[in-house]
Amino acid sequence: MLKGSRTNTIYLDHGATTPLDSAVAAAMQPYWSDLYGNPSSLHTTGRVAARAVEDARETYAEWLGARPREIVFTGCGSESNNMALRGVMWAAMSSGIRGHLITSAVEHNAVGATALQLRDVFGFEVTILPVDGEGLISVDDVAAAIRPDTVLISVMAAQNEIGTIQPWREIGELARSCGVVFHTDAVQLVAGRRWDLANEPVDLLTIAPHKFYGPKGVGVLYVREGVEMLSTLTGGGQEDGRRAGTLNVPLIVGAAAAFRLAQETREERLAHFLPLRERLITGVLESLPDVAILTGHRTQRLSHHASFAFRGLSGNDLLMHLDLAGIAASSGSACSSGNPKPSAVLQALGLGPEWTKSGLRLTIGLQNTAEQIDRTVEALARAVQKLEAMGQAIPA
């Protein structure tokens, strides 16, 4: 068959997904065709698989500082977010009275779209709090938004598009003091931090293993004991009745292997990411001082994350140029059907229309090197130059 040949030689989109670690893949291997049982089955074949799932659960419990029964395996991070929001809001309904949800303007779609549906279709009260120019939510704003009927606050631990780490801890403490449940989408942050949920003010926490060299197709939701959550996927009673569906044992095993590995090598990974992130940020801002800005907080940000906006340019065009140069990145207004919208997150930062379609995110991984960073900075500068030259020729 005809085949052009092209690959991305420099992958800088680890925020989207990461390659499966080989040790993790090896850990998963037995559970496809050898130890293939359904963990819900009574027989030995099933019990062997169930044991693997429980081991995985204990791994998460151990490294999160939580109890095994507080760990729920789901199909993905988005599902965990859906479960958290819907499950808690619906469970809090009594006599048909719908409670109040507080969230931020920069959540991942799995939280944002779910909140909007809860409001527009299901009639819940929802407050969406703004953020400042660096994407930070104000704890005072959260406090001011809390009402007697507030059931849940959902604020992400770190923002995926702009890297900003939110004051989730302070918000959690505030929620606790008001008797409000606190959920945080920790998908982007979870592998970069040592957790001790028994002693931290978080009631629900979302995890997506494919962001830290684990498999896609599995998610985790931490649900603190005592939090009332209605099941949103009902059926066979798996996961203590919280999430039905035959457990995907190999993926769950892989999820746990990846998390253990991430936590055990956390320091080394951070030591690898941080200098490269700094090199990238400095490189871009110094080579394109008049057109590029860093988006998100400069220091209170994910260790592997760099994001920029480029005045007057299109993020999609930049991605195209980078892709052809062998570099994989992403944009908050990326659209594969040629209909890019301004990024809601960049708009929430208060950026004007000349910036909001120009977002570019570069997220560093274990395989990236300093040389690759340098080549990326060059390729980006070249792409910007070409696009600026073209922009002057096309009528507005």
Binding site: M1, L2, G4, H321, G338, N339, A393, P395
Partner: protein, 386 residues
Amino acid sequence: MTDPVSINPAEKRVVVAMSGGVDSSVAAAILVEQGYDVVGMMMRLWSEPGSGASAAANRCCTPDQMADARRVADRLGIPFYVLDVQDHFRQTIVQFFIDEHLAGHTPNPCIECNRQIRFTHLMNHALGLDADYLATGHYARIRHTPAGYQLLRAPDEAKDQSYVLHVLTQTHLARTLFPIGEYTKAEVRDLARRFGLPVASKQESQDLCFLGDGDYRRFLRQYEERVRRPGPIIDIDGRELGQHEGLSFYTIGQRKGLGISSAEPLFVVRKDAARNALIVGPRAALGQTELMAERVNWIGGVPDGPVAAAVKIRYKAQPISATVEPIAPAAARIRFDEPVAGATAGQGAVFYDGEICLGGGIITAQPSEQYASGPIALPVLQGEYS
């Protein structure tokens, strides 16, 4: 292809304009087979927000067609990107279409789209991506001679698209490839099957790409109120015979639907935009021996004097013997050997010497002393290209 001997395809990048249709898909496949570094691109143009399955089949650049183009690109292993040109297309081509009708002309927006969108905007993007060529699925050929590039008709006369490509200059042709121009439509479909492309049996897209249903009158009524401008229908002797609904709704040579009764058959002869009058006359009045064209492009360079050429006055017309005289700066006087009927202001008049397309322009409604002046508004290609 352009200068095949000296090219090493592997060192050449080609952006292929892909529409999801069989022609551009096969064009891309041919280039991949030839070893070029191929990049697929589709432009998201503006088209009417519409509904209905039959409407969708006729419209260009729908999400379905995008999915088709992407599937072909994936099958070929080439990158595929979509350029958002919606606003630009709406403001140039769609608006041009409306404005021309308001002025009493019958435009060919595909000519304008090639001029401004495909071979300027898209070509600039392609060159910006370090492409050496822009390729399309057009039925036409490019020949490289010591004297420069020539645009040739396609062997498949029914499919030949040189008419809408008359706007291309030497600068464009040096950077353009028409991979399927040598083939007939039947051969192209065959190739699609041989390449295993998923679009082999797709329906042809018809009509103007931005119309939801192919009905330009309905479109004009909906998008531009001012086209509904009733005015007098006047015969060539000056007698007023009735009322028309708006000049846009009539075509030169039209006989039916005029709402007037007469002893002999009457045809639309001319649209007088200045008086908002529809001029009708007997069949004999349809003939014209002389036409003026503006925005004329001579692909091989402006000749020193009048040249003999066969001229097409519509896309689907037969070329008719004429003498074409260039008039500076960018006009031409076309004198036909025999009177021709149906020449319409706004349509392209394209000149041929056998299979060679010499160039062409847009038929003007102005009297010969008042043809449009000024060079063609052909936006300049970026960069160092002359």
